[in-house]
């Protein structure tokens, strides 16, 4: 996320800060998800959760190109988007545990974190369910002249939902500032996308008048650069974009999806993890380019881990909502 810059800093310093911030955010997401898995394993978390591990560069690269007042919509696999948009891990964990201190006072849980303060219109457990919402937010932006951009995150599974094309068409007709970010992590739940997706994914944007681009979703710099261009374009009133990010989820569809060999080979997982890890590759580049060194990066990781642990402790200690809250917030 672009943050007000200190005038006294050199351009290089500013750039360094940005890269390190992006690195930290990616690590935050990964460490966050590690804790989620831990909570699940320790049977401390109600229900299930869908981890974002492996896809960190997408959320971070995109959100780095946004203002804090810009909007996002997220998905069932949404923790990464929330963190990247600036959510606090403690309130996120509290939400995952159904506690009152959570972003939704415990009412939403893992799949519905929302936060007006960071422009997060909410995660959505209906595949494709937020396409209309994001496009509507872009309509508000245009009509009210706020200059805000809306980003709609979704997995490639949402390409199956017709409503996506309905709103792309509308966004193109009305030149709305919305970016449809498709995270193609190759699988829906347990099915490879090639079995459910005919034709050409990028063409599905252009056919509806939406500028379409693809990017390596494991390369945070590439994602960021592309997002910056598309966001800028949208903000200038030049219309919507469709950005397809190639990525991979390292773990199961949800935390309970342990035996995956029947739908994808271990070897494939191994290759993505070793060759295309977004954090490892970015770290390496940061060191090579002298933006940081291994010690500093390790230190960040440790800080983040400590922060996450504290956040988890906070959430575990936090109280549940009182039962009388059950029928509050039904109507505003």
């Amino acid at each position: 996320m672009t943050i007000a810059t200190d005038q006294s800093k050199t351009k290089a310093e500013v750039k360094t800060e940005q890269w390190i911030r992006m690195y930290r955010r990616m690590v935050m997401i990964r460490e966050f998800e590690d804790q989620v898995n831990e909570l699940y394993t320790r049977a401390l978390m109600p229900g299930l959760a869908h981890l974002y591990v492996g896809q960190e560069a997408v959320a971070v690269g995109i959100c780095e190109a946004l203002q804090s007042t810009d909007y996002i919509t997220s998905t069932h696999r949404g923790h990464g988007h929330c963190v990247a948009k600036g959510a606090s891990p403690d309130r996120m964990f509290a939400e995952l545990l159904g506690k009152e201190a959570g972003y939704c006072r415990g009412k939403g849980g893992s799949m519905h974190i929302a936060d007006p303060a960071t422009g997060n219109l909410g995660a959505n457990a209906i595949v494709g369910g937020s396409a209309g919402i994001a496009t509507g937010a872009a309509l508000s932006s245009k009509r009210l002249g706020t200059g805000k951009v809306a980003v709609c995150f979704f997995g490639e599974g949402a390409l199956g939902q017709g409503v996506l094309y309905e709103v792309m068409n509308l966004a193109a007709l009305w030149r709305l500032p919305v970016i449809y970010v498709c995270e193609n992590n190759l699988y829906t739940e347990y099915t490879h996308y090639s079995e459910t997706t005919a034709g050409d994914i990028l063409a599905r944007g252009t056919a509806f008048g939406v500028r379409a681009e693809g990017v390596d979703g494991q390369d945070v710099r590439a994602v960021y650069a592309t997002a910056q261009r598309l966001v800028e374009r949208a903000r200038q009133g030049e219309g919507p974009a469709f950005l397809v990010c190639e990525t991979y989820r390292y773990t199961g569809h949800h935390v309970g999806d342990i035996n995956r060999e029947y739908y994808r080979p271990k070897q494939e997982e191994q290759e993505w993890k070793t060759k295309r890890d977004p954090i490892k590759n970015f770290s390496q580049w940061l060191v090579e380019q002298n933006f940081s060194d291994e010690g500093k990066l390790r230190q960040i990781q440790e800080e983040v881990r400590a922060e996450m642990k504290a956040a988890v402790e906070f959430a575990i200690a936090a109280p549940y909502p009182t039962v009388d809250q059950v029928d509050q917030d039904v109507y505003a």
């Binding site: 939704c104 939403g108 909410g122 496009t135 509308l170 009305w174």
Partner: protein
């Protein structure tokens, strides 16, 4: 008290006036849907609005009910106050995910942080010879869903006052207009007024039987009440005006007073509005009722095209009259 001047407006004019006034009052209010601008909808309800408010506030959409309803949700969350137009209530089928899984739940799921101040205007009602896919009255579905409010005006006066309130409401409101009623005339004050949601209106006072009727069925019930009067039965006709929130108290008190009640609604008769309202009355007035609560809704068939068939699928003055008479033991 200042003198109140009224004029006769049609139902359609009353709806349009409510929209125009709210659009003048609040620049965030906007309209979108199919053929809403120059065409002013096929029912001509919105004629003139695009001329006054421009194409930025009265927007023609593609035939994408799910898509633009979803956009209504997002727009409402972020500062606009959209009034979404769904031409025929039958097309609500296409918007259910946006209305039920999104609009109705956003406020609650977000722990009360986001709001969805949108109105979805749509239609209901049969007997237009439009067959099974253009004649349904599906308001029971929406009334079933917590997080939504459901408004069903039966007069021009109510339509105007309730629509203004719906637009100002901070929640998603579904507003049903009877297609057959658009040309119905009735008095509407010149002065501004609003009508709160959740307050039933006694359309006619009576002593012998309570007829609860909604939307299109209110005029039918009033007609039946006239017929009943001729045979010496005094019917009280109550219009809940909103199925949710529901003014249970007024319904129950009336039934307690008359000791007989029936519920008339144009939705399918099974698992719909009549079941809920009859249950509320049967429970609340249990010890006063001298007969079971009688329910009348659309026949449990897809609406047929053929006029003689279609005509028997919905309650009429005559069938309501006969049922009421039987309920009062006057066979």
């Amino acid at each position: 008290m200042p003198e109140v001047s009224t004029r006769e407006l049609t139902f359609a004019q009353a709806v349009r006036e409510a929209l125009a006034e709210e659009m003048r009052r609040d620049s965030r209010v906007c309209i979108f849907g199919e053929d809403v601008a120059e065409a002013g909808t096929p029912f001509k309800v919105l004629s003139g609005l695009v001329e006054e408010f421009g194409a930025e506030r009265v927007m023609d959409t593609p035939i994408s009910e799910a898509g633009f309803t979803g956009m209504g949700v997002g727009a409402a969350m972020t500062g606009l106050r959209p009034v979404v137009d769904i031409m025929f209530g039958d097309f609500l089928t296409l918007t259910m995910d946006q209305m039920v899984n999104q609009a109705a739940k956003v406020h609650y799921m977000s722990g009360g942080t986001w709001r969805v101040p949108m109105v979805l205007r749509t239609t209901l009602g049969a007997t237009r010879r439009s067959a099974a896919q253009h004649s349904q009255s599906l308001h029971a579905w929406l009334s079933h869903v917590p997080g939504l409010k459901v408004v069903m005006p039966s007069t021009p006066y109510d339509a105007k006052g309730l629509l203004k309130t719906a637009i100002r409401d901070e929640n998603p409101v579904v507003f049903f207009e009877d297609k057959m009623m658009y040309k119905l005339k009735g008095p509407v004050p010149e002065e501004e007024y609003t009508i709160p949601l959740g307050v039933a209106d006694v359309k006619r006072e009576g002593e012998d039987i309570t007829i609860v009727a909604t939307s299109s069925m209110v005029q039918v019930a009033l007609g039946a009440a006239e017929l009943l009067e001729k045979i010496g039965l005094s019917a009280e006709v109550i219009d809940p005006r909103t199925t949710w929130p529901l003014d249970e108290k007024t319904l129950i008190e009336s039934a307690k007073k008359t000791s007989r009640a029936m519920v008339v609604d144009e939705g399918y008769g099974r698992y719909g509005v009549t079941g809920e309202i009859a249950s509320v009355i049967a429970e609340g007035a249990f010890y006063n009722l001298e007969a079971p609560v009688k329910r009348m809704g659309a026949m449990h068939v897809p609406i047929p095209f053929s006029p003689p068939l279609e005509d028997v699928t919905v309650p009429t003055e005559q069938t309501v009259f006969e049922a009421a008479r039987a309920l009062c033991g006057k066979a």
